[in-house]
């Protein structure tokens, strides 16, 4: 037989079966299983190219149909109540159930059309309402907070602040910036030169109390050499630097 309908139309094996039942105008409660199985198998064969996942579902149904077909040929089974069991019963129930939901889906479709004709609205809350702030109820806010509790909180806060102070470092003496000015140092060097007339640079530096004093003393010497107040001699590289005062009183 031909395949008049595109296979994709069928949502699954049950859908296909219902289609076959409809097409053949078969009573769903009395499915001619041989005929239906044959037609079903024809469809399956035509579906060879289809997606395996989909195929497996259709094949499972094919197996079920074949199983029913076999059982139909055998003597009827009898259940506990002594009634004959129809091998098709389970399939019929499944088909009926599926048909029912398909029908309901159809009903829903109608309703969806109605639903789509309805418009809703975004909230439009007036600013007076939106800006409204509930007055503060201090009774609720403070509860049974007591002054003693408040005091304890304050003490905790203050203690925490105390803890933050580094108890060891905070006792170290302060390191203050030492002010050494060049003019002051120049006066010092001038006096030193007058006193010693000729002396080594090293000798004078030994009297300096800090690195800063050394640096500034050096600067003072350079400055005074430029102004012609001191004369510098150095015989060898890294040798002793000798300073001679050129200033006469």
């Amino acid at each position: 037989m031909g395949i008049p309908v595109k296979l994709q139309v069928f949502e699954g094996p049950l859908d296909l079966l219902l289609h076959l039942i409809d097409k053949n105008k078969i009573d769903i409660y009395d499915i001619p299983i041989v005929e239906i199985t044959n037609q079903y198998m024809d469809y399956i064969k035509a579906m060879e190219q289809e997606d395996l996942n989909v195929m497996s579902e259709f094949l499972l149904m094919a197996a079920t149909l074949l199983d029913i077909k076999c059982r139909m040929l055998l003597p009827k089974e009898v259940n506990e109540e002594g009634e004959e069991e129809d091998p098709r019963q389970e399939l019929v129930e499944q088909l009926l159930q599926y048909k029912m939901y398909k029908y309901m889906a159809f009903e829903l479709k109608d309703r969806q059309v109605d639903g789509n004709l309805t418009f809703y609205k975004q909230p439009t809350i007036p600013s007076e309402v939106n800006d409204y702030a509930e007055p503060v109820d201090l009774d609720l806010l403070l509860g049974d907070l007591t002054l003693a509790q408040l005091n304890r909180i304050f003490e905790d806060v203050m203690k925490r602040q105390e803890d933050k102070v580094d108890q060891v470092r905070s006792k170290f003496g302060k390191i203050e910036k030492e002010e050494v000015s060049l003019p002051d140092k120049m006066v010092y060097v001038k006096n030193y030169a007058m006193e010693h007339q000729r002396f080594s640079f090293r000798q004078m530096l030994q009297e300096q109390t800090s690195k800063m004093h050394v640096v500034v003393a050096f600067l003072a010497v350079l400055e005074m050499m430029k102004t012609g107040e001191l004369q510098i001699e150095q015989e060898d590289t890294f040798g002793e630097i000798m300073i001679t005062s050129l200033v006469t009183e």
Partner: protein
Amino acid sequence: MEIEKMQGMIEAILFTMGDSVELGQIAGAIEHDEETTRKIIHNMMDKYEAADRGVRIIELDNSFQMCTKKEAYDCLIRIAKAPKRYVLTDVLLETMSIIAYKQPVTRLEVEKIRGVKSDHAVNKLVEYGLAQEVGRLDAPGRPILFGTTEEFLRRFSVQSLDELPSLNAEQMEEFKSEAEDEAQMKLNI
């Protein structure tokens, strides 16, 4: 407060909120009990049937929401941008109907009824906000139980789940006799 004034307040609430508002909240706002409030709202719903009203109130699972009447659609579409509405395919509708009628239901149950894998369909419905996780089944693997959302009720113009077109024994009989008639017809031909 007289009834009229309360109705005015309720209209203001539903208009302002736009979204669905729980009966309890409305009752609280107009300072009345829920039963009276519900009666008042139902009374309003009747009044809104009048031709000069373009909006109506819908009831969704103990909440109320204001929306436009269907008749206004053509007119509205000329002004308002139609909300983007996805059309549910037959697969989705099928899955939707199973979830709606069998809820709470697991994916596996849906698949058993449809006879095919339904992951994609269920996921899509969740994505569209029509179905949602409503719990877990107390069984191995604790599978998710799905149910419908409020959006489902809105989109399918259903007041509450009880209002879903019923699926009953009668309906089943109808299917049966339909099939029989068809079979009969076939024999007669």
